[in-house]
Amino acid sequence: MTVVIDRTKPEAPKTGPVSAAARVRAKGFTLGLYKPRTPIYPKLVHGQWRRIKWILMIVMLTIYYVTPWIRWERPGALPDQAALVDFAGGRFYFFGIQLWPQEVYFITGLLVMAALALFLVSALFGRLWCGYACPQTVWTDLFIYVERAFEGDRNARMKLDAAPWSFDKAWRKIGKHAVWLGIGFGTGGAWIFYFHDAPTLITHFWIGQAPATAYIFCALLTVTTYAFAGFMREQVCIYLCPWPRIQGAMLDQHSLQVTYLRDRGETRGPHKKGQTWEGRGDCIDCNACVVACPMGIDIRDGSQLECINCGLCIDACDEIMDRVERPRGLIAYDTDAAVAAREERQPPIYKLLRPRTAYYAVALTLVSGLMIWGLTHRSALDVHVLRDRNPMFVRLHDGAIRDGYTLKIANRGFEAEDVQVTFKGPRGAKLRTPGAKATGETLSVRVEPNEVRAVRVFVTVAAAAIEAPNMPAVFSLRAGRDAMTVKTNFLSGAANAP
């Protein structure tokens, strides 16, 4: 059941506030490439969803600003910052986890998980991410809070914008923009701490000794925060962000969304105290939901791309319903299917388990399981074998053949490892590193923590053991509970061919 919004219909003449989207539509066709932005003046609402949004805003901003300052002891000269993307050192640290650049697939896995979780949550509960957790929403909310502190609520702001310039208008505007820029700077400033040791960077930043990238990214995020949350706001969601376009494929008639209950609200119309509610809907057409909307839409037009499902119109409407003494929830988190069922005078059915949600849940479980398995079974050891190419083999004085290999052994753990190297292939192969006194079937190589060690290994095979010009061979490495094998070849050319 999809609600089709017919925007070709002539607007019914309305009195009082009109949604920003309706005002734009009223302007009709313009010659420019872009639709002119109609300023939106969201009115402050009070209620449970607004309270949840405030709490989530504080929690998420706290996480963002505090995380780089959490310390996490690591052995040796490794950084003690719990969350650190160390570009210079080529490492990613997150508490006990340390990832190397070649393990970037863990980041890919994390992104796949994030995407699947977003799909699942969207299919079940609609655009919770957009309404509560997206940085664009959180920072815009914060910026509107600042705007309200300087310029007052909706009506005061509209009046101020329409008023000619005065000292009062000037200081309010300058103050607002100054605080906005300050928040922007704080956003950019916190961002760079994720990439360098925070306590060191904060001193270096002020005395001009931080790396150029720190200043560039701090400035970049200051500007984008200021522009995105101060000026572009809902345009980022409508025009820049791909997610509102993709979500159409994730939602269906059983997804929870902020919904105007048509079945209960229509026919709408003004209502005077004392008049009967018989034969009419509960919507008194007060437009409280419209003026509260930060996206500038009228939720009563049905579900639409612009709606970020923040629930502020629910709070606005509940306030009115209380006042006119009708039950709350004329606008509520509900499903299209339920509304349609009630319109048909049938009991609404809520279906959380649908093929779509099952697919997403199974995929999410699989990927998460794979990630956890990967992280817990991650080997500290990583080995690459490079066989000498020039010369490919060396014939010794007694006719024996010696091949040279370079083993690059990475120790991605926090402890030094004694790696035991063995070579399986031609019979009686002897291993040796340059400068070593002994020759044997096993080599022991000490690899310091967090280090890649390149070791030259010479493998000598007596003439009698050479069976073919190219014999398959395997390097086996063992360190503690980690073991690895790497396939290679033992080449002898036609040197010992009879």
């Binding site: 020039n390 014939r395 010794l396 010696r402 040279g404 340059p434 030259r456 000598t460």
Partner: protein, 288 residues
Amino acid sequence: MSHRETDEHSGVETTGHEWDGIRELDNPLPRWWLYIFYGSIVIAAIYWVFMPSWPGVNSYAKGVLNQSDRVDVAKQLEALQTQRGAEGAMLRSASLETIETDPKLQAYALAVGQSVFGDNCATCHGVGGTGSKGYANLRDDVWLWGGSLEDIQHTIQVGVRSDNPHTRQSQMPAFGRDQILKPAQIDDLTEYVVALSRRPARAAAVARGAPMFAEQCAVCHGPQGRGNVTLGAPDLTDADWLYGSTQADIREQIWNGRGGVMPTWEGRFSPETIKALAVYVHANAGGQ
């Protein structure tokens, strides 16, 4: 025969020259081109003041900035040395064994050695160090002048048959060319040397060659032909032959007594570089 006239079609004056009835319009240079040209003249004048420009008899005008590519290169080399300072200093003080066994020093020495080897040694010994006929293979375990780290370091320092006063020196007589032995005797001696490396040879010739070998060759190559590292005399019993292993190759060597020359590198490389090179060569040869 030049008379300028105005071309009817374009209204532009001609240059007045005519070749086989073809006349040339005297169009002015494009403005943009002209201004760039004038600008270049101005820049050239400024350039003369600041940069080296006019040649003199013994010197040249150095310019206000006193710029010199030679000085720049020297500065860059100096900066490189400073950058390498720590490892360079360690190379200078550490013993060869320490350099070869310490993982960090070894990695540094191998990197230095590889680049120096490629620039200087690969010409004769090959990029892989495997040599060729007449040029020693530096990868195997056969060493004319010794394969220890110190021996290799010394060979690089003084060279072989070079103009260094302490050079590695040896000279095999040209038994044939200088008519020390008769051709038939050389044939017998060749058979004997082939037999030394346990290959089939004519028994009668080997028997005739044996006393000759004891008389002429054993002084350097030893009575069993096992060679002598202090004299640079190769082992004749193994599978490694500097000038080829065939009978003809061996005969030619006895006839001409060839010996290659390796230059001395003492003056050209710093002691650290020679150390790094010795470690590189030693490590690549299996590091005995």
